[in-house]
């Protein structure tokens, strides 16, 4: 596969990632192409699934479902998309920033491509949002997360052209950022709920 890829190559990204990594190691993809043909659409999947699932089934937290007004669900889904977009863009930019320290490729296109591949299993795993039972979502998204982490550790040294040892260090440094980003997402979410956007809770 050439370094240019779109949503049509999703199957390859998920099931034959090594071929994609090797292709990216040779050719640098343009930033705009990675973003508009691949990452953006990938990022749209979880919020769309979440919207459909929440409208149909409500949030299932283990007791009776919590239903929300359509306006609220729409607002939350848009906010979710914005958060995912911010997470993706910031991770790619931070990967490029870290590349200086770890003697890796500083091409923004490669960083965009790498982070979109890493995020792909999680985004596709977002299909489980169609049934928003929190525990079932945790069960499905944990293996997706493990797959994503594997792709990060495996792909980073190849795509960003650095040694396996430096690649391992850089991937771990990125994991630190991603963990912080994940917990920020939860923190911002509950703060928004507290301020009125979300389920009706008495704070």
């Amino acid at each position: 596969m050439a370094a240019r890829f779109s949503m049509l190559d999703l199957g390859k990204v998920l099931f034959r990632p090594n071929a994609v990594f090797e292709a990216l190691a040779v050719e640098t993809p343009p930033v705009a192409q990675v973003f508009f043909r691949f990452a953006l659409w990938l990022g749209l999947l979880p919020p769309v699934f979440a919207y459909i699932g929440t409208m149909n089934f409500g949030w299932r937290l283990g007791v009776e479902p919590v239903f929300l007004p359509q306006q609220t669900v729409l607002a939350i889904s848009v906010a979710y998309f914005a958060a995912l977009l911010f997470g993706f863009l910031s991770s790619a930019v931070i990967a490029r920033w870290m590349a200086v320290t770890y003697d890796a490729s500083q091409s923004l296109g490669r960083c965009f491509a790498l982070m979109s591949i890493v995020g792909a299993p999680l985004a596709v795993g977002g299909v489980i949002h169609l049934y928003p039972h929190v525990f079932i979502n945790v069960l499905v998204l944990v293996p997706a997360l493990i797959w994503s982490m594997y792709l990060l550790y495996r792909g980073l040294p190849i795509v960003l052209r650095t040694g396996p040892n430096r690649g391992m260090l850089m991937a771990s440094a990125l994991i630190a950022y991603l963990l912080v980003a994940a917990v920020s997402l939860i923190g911002v979410t509950v703060a928004l709920w507290g301020s009125g956007l979300g389920p009706r809770i008495g704070t």
């Binding site: 979502n137 945790v138 630190a176 923190g187 709920w193 389920p199 009706r200």
Partner: protein, 477 residues
């Protein structure tokens, strides 16, 4: 003993061995209480196995058995090498060893028998509090005595952190434990009501700060550069971060008491200081990551360094999550939920346990004068530890957010929609996941204990002399 020119490392070995023993036992107690939350009847009606007692046993064993033993071991090892002298008052160090282990054994038994002072993370009753105070002062005498006799002009940064640990924990422990004994097994705090709560969390949070953060940063600052064979990326940053850390941390305790009956301004002060704390915490993380980034070629051969690299990632998470949870508008949601338990364990497992594991994989072969028994087992342990802590944290995030929503959900009349029982029942699958996570993490710790025991089997601690001593040393580091 008094005339030997060698470093006093046997006491380090003894503390290390006990730390591993308490790690396995303490984590086993943790896994058992996790199982009790899924299958409540496995206490078999025995008071000693009830959740309230075993949970206290778990925290006591991992904090004071595993954590403190590991800190004393590494403090004694590194203070000798950074001062170029052997330990001051080595007999007192041995007295400390026996006194400390005896306190944990008897203290643990007293908790299972139902003695409990009622203060979280300080549950041991007054006879043990006295013993801990005496032991801690002995720790201080040995440590600062060694520093006073040092042959180096400056005091290395790790010793500042260990020193702060000794001084501040002594202060916290003594003030928080002030109590009037009624019987041998029961005492009453000198403080009452809201004051008691403020003192308790001044103690509780700074135990996290100066023991679990500061003490282990001492470990990081000695063992990471030693291990990576690189100087610290910025020594100046480490000093600035130390003083900012010491100044800021001591104020942060009231964030445990948001929306409680303590003055509003005290809560806000605790919140602001918690947010400021992010700066020195992350300065240290950056320093560690940059130090290790120059030593990447060692990763291939050295599983121990992987633990330290990963521990820095979780240190980054925990020190970010903490200030975030201290924000009142987040705390209103997260308080009392499983999210807090997840936060504690991302720190305790991800940071404290992983850095200690990495350090022990480095330290034990050097104490034994032989390579690690199995690098492969250590690598397996690494992945078990990562899987265990990730699964734990994710399970508790899911549980905590669900709990928060359910508890705060109101019905049309503005009444609480779900009963406590409903919400507890909804938590069962998460508790099962957490039990599995704990089991995976414990399995890794057991592998490690086996690996280290095999490394040391049939050997004695090798003798190492301080630089400039003219003796036939049994090895060199």
């Amino acid at each position: 003993m008094r005339t030997t020119p060698f470093y006093q490392d046997r006491v380090v070995t003894a503390f290390t061995a006990c730390a591993m023993f308490w790690a396995v036992l303490g984590m086993l107690a943790g896994v058992y209480v996790a199982a009790e939350l899924v299958w409540p009847t496995i206490d078999f009606g025995l008071p000693a196995l009830s959740f309230g007692r075993l949970r206290t046993l778990h925290t006591t064993l991992v904090l004071f058995g595993f954590g403190v033993s590991a800190l004393i071991a590494t403090a004694f090892y590194s203070v000798q090498r950074t001062s170029h002298v052997r330990l001051f008052a080595p007999r007192l160090a041995w007295v400390l060893f026996y006194a400390w282990q005896l306190t944990i054994v008897l203290g643990g038994a007293s908790i299972m028998a139902g003695w409990n002072g009622g203060k979280e993370y300080a549950e041991l009753e007054w006879p043990f509090d006295l013993a801990i105070a005496v032991a801690w002062v002995s720790f201080g005498i040995v440590f600062f005595g060694t520093i006073a006799r040092r042959k180096m002009e400056s005091i290395y940064i790790s010793n500042w952190f260990y020193g702060a640990l000794i001084i501040v924990v002594a202060m916290l422990h003594i003030v928080n434990s002030l109590a009037l004994p009624a019987t041998l097994g029961k005492s009453y705090s000198l403080f009452a009501g809201a004051q008691d709560a403020v003192v308790q969390w001044w103690y509780g949070h700074n135990a996290v700060g100066f023991l679990l953060t500061g003490g282990f940063l001492g470990m990081l600052y000695y063992f990471l550069p030693k291990h990576a064979e690189q100087p610290i990326w910025s020594y100046r940053l480490s000093i600035v971060a130390f003083w900012a850390f010491v100044y800021t941390y001591i104020w942060a305790g009231p964030h445990h008491l948001h929306y409680h009956s303590i003055p509003e301004w005290v809560q806000s002060l605790g919140m602001v200081m918690s947010l400021i704390l992010l700066a020195p915490s992350w300065a240290t993380m950056v320093n560690g990551i940059m130090t290790v980034s120059a030593a990447s070629q060692k990763l291939r051969t050295d599983p121990a360094l992987k633990f330290i690299v990963l521990s820095l990632a979780f240190y980054g998470l925990a020190t970010f999550e903490g200030p975030m949870l201290a924000i009142k508008s987040v705390n209103v949601f997260s308080h009392f939920t499983e999210w807090t338990i997840g936060h504690v364990h991302s720190g305790a497992l991800g940071w404290n346990a992983l850095i200690t594991f990495g350090t022990f994989y480095f330290l034990v072969p050097r104490l034994a004068g032989t390579p690690l028994y199995s690098a492969r087992l250590a690598n397996i342990h690494f992945w078990l530890a990562l899987a265990g802590v990730m699964l734990y944290v994710l399970a508790m995030w899911g549980a905590g957010v669900s709990q928060g929503v359910l508890w705060l959900s109101l019905d049309e009349l503005g009444e609480v929609r779900f009963s406590f029982n409903d919400v507890m029942a909804a938590m069962k699958p998460y508790y099962l996941l957490r039990f599995v996570a704990g089991l995976v993490f414990l399995a890794g710790a057991v592998l490690m204990a086996f690996n280290l025991a095999r490394t040391f089997a049939g050997r004695r601690t090798i003798k190492v002399a301080p630089p400039g001593t003219h003796v036939a040393a049994g090895g060199s580091i």
